[in-house]
Symmetry: C2
Subunit: 223 residues, 2 copies
């Protein structure tokens, strides 16, 4: 496992995240937008990561991760998510405060530290946003998940993750009572704007816009 700089780690993580949504390839501009830098800087870094064998890169044609690159990205994401669990579970941060801090902590690369932290936290499988934590071999235990917006009236599901970590979004969710683990049934879908009428935990009903439902991930429930 080669030693990477914090910047290299951030690029790998960004490429991984974009590949999750985007299909095959990620473009220079997409990366630049995500990590708030300029396309020229991205080009430089892509050349370097390609030399190290972490990405597949053809000029002007976008990038994808090689298998070593994917493993590295998952290691970084593992560290990030374990620290997020620590911050919320142990230090009592709320889930909208932890982003920046976890992003600094994730770059502390000491394998023994990560293992001990994992153990101390009780080998958590999901972070506070509901995203799965890769194991120490860089593998994800993936269960099928789907965007809430894709459900049709009558379908039931459990909220397992959110797709957007902006403080504004997380605060909104808190306010309206949506949380990881909540059970939700789609009562109705408004054709005009794609918004949804939901029943949360069998109790309260809630109307959410398509922007919101597109950023919530759920696991379908057997009924």
């Amino acid at each position: 496992m080669q030693k990477l700089t914090a910047a290299e780690e951030n690029y790998l993580k960004a490429i991984y995240r974009l590949l999750e949504e985007d299909l095959e390839k990620v473009s220079t501009n997409e990366i630049a937008a995500l990590i708030q830098t300029k396309a020229a800087s991205v080009s430089d870094m892509l050349r370097k990561l390609a030399e190290k064998g972490l990405i597949d890169y053809k000029k002007y044609r976008g990038v994808s991760l090689t298998e070593p690159g994917r493993k590295m990205a998952l290691h970084i994401i593992r560290r990030n998510r374990l620290w997020e669990v620590f911050l919320v579970e142990k230090l009592k941060f709320s889930w909208d405060e932890i982003g920046n801090i976890a992003e600094e902590l994730e770059h502390v690369n000491a394998p023994l530290l990560v293992r001990r932290l994992d153990e101390y936290l009780g080998f958590p499988k999901f972070d506070p946003h509901g995203d799965p934590i890769p194991d120490e071999f860089g593998e994800l235990s993936s269960k099928p998940r789907v965007h809430l917006e894709a459900l049709s009236p009558g379908q039931a599901a459990k909220i397992v993750a959110v797709n957007n970590s902006s403080a504004a979004f997380l605060k909104y969710l808190d306010k309206v009572g949506i949380y990881i683990g909540a059970r939700v049934i789609v009562l109705d879908q408004i054709e005009f704007d794609g918004s949804l009428e939901l029943l949360i935990d069998g109790q309260k009903t809630l109307h959410v816009s398509r922007e919101v439902s597109a950023n919530i991930l759920v696991m379908l429930q057997p009924s």
Copy 2:
């Protein structure tokens, strides 16, 4: 509180540590030796820290900390020692494994994180080596401490800190049964080499060289 780079923080910490032993001024070479770099690099950094008002620096004449510099150094040391407590108390590291890891963690500068960590650890006053943890205003609660080598036969003391964090030294202490908090009485001093005959916790006797006793700090006991 200005934002410093990790390198700047390391220099401040090194200068603080050297000022603790050394009297008035610290020399360029001393700093270079401590942080394993070249004198030329130290000169450059001193110029920069002086510009920022963190050190008093006259060319060729050595440096000392300004009051803001001292405060900053103590903040950095506070972060370092809180993480050391975390690693030992919570993650079950032994005190000879934590040096490098704490030195990476200490550079994560998020004031809220440090406060929450402090609270989570129960506001510890000393780190696992027995060194005092500065408060969040950059002040040390100092109790008078003295080197074990300075004691005379008959005097009693409690071991409160060690002065040397090399793994070899810490392992030696573990092996012979010296630990922070142990009570010690000096039974005899060998004039020839300055070594000491000790009684540990009123139970076992132990012979330690001057090299060892010079690196152990104690608080004198009322007798």
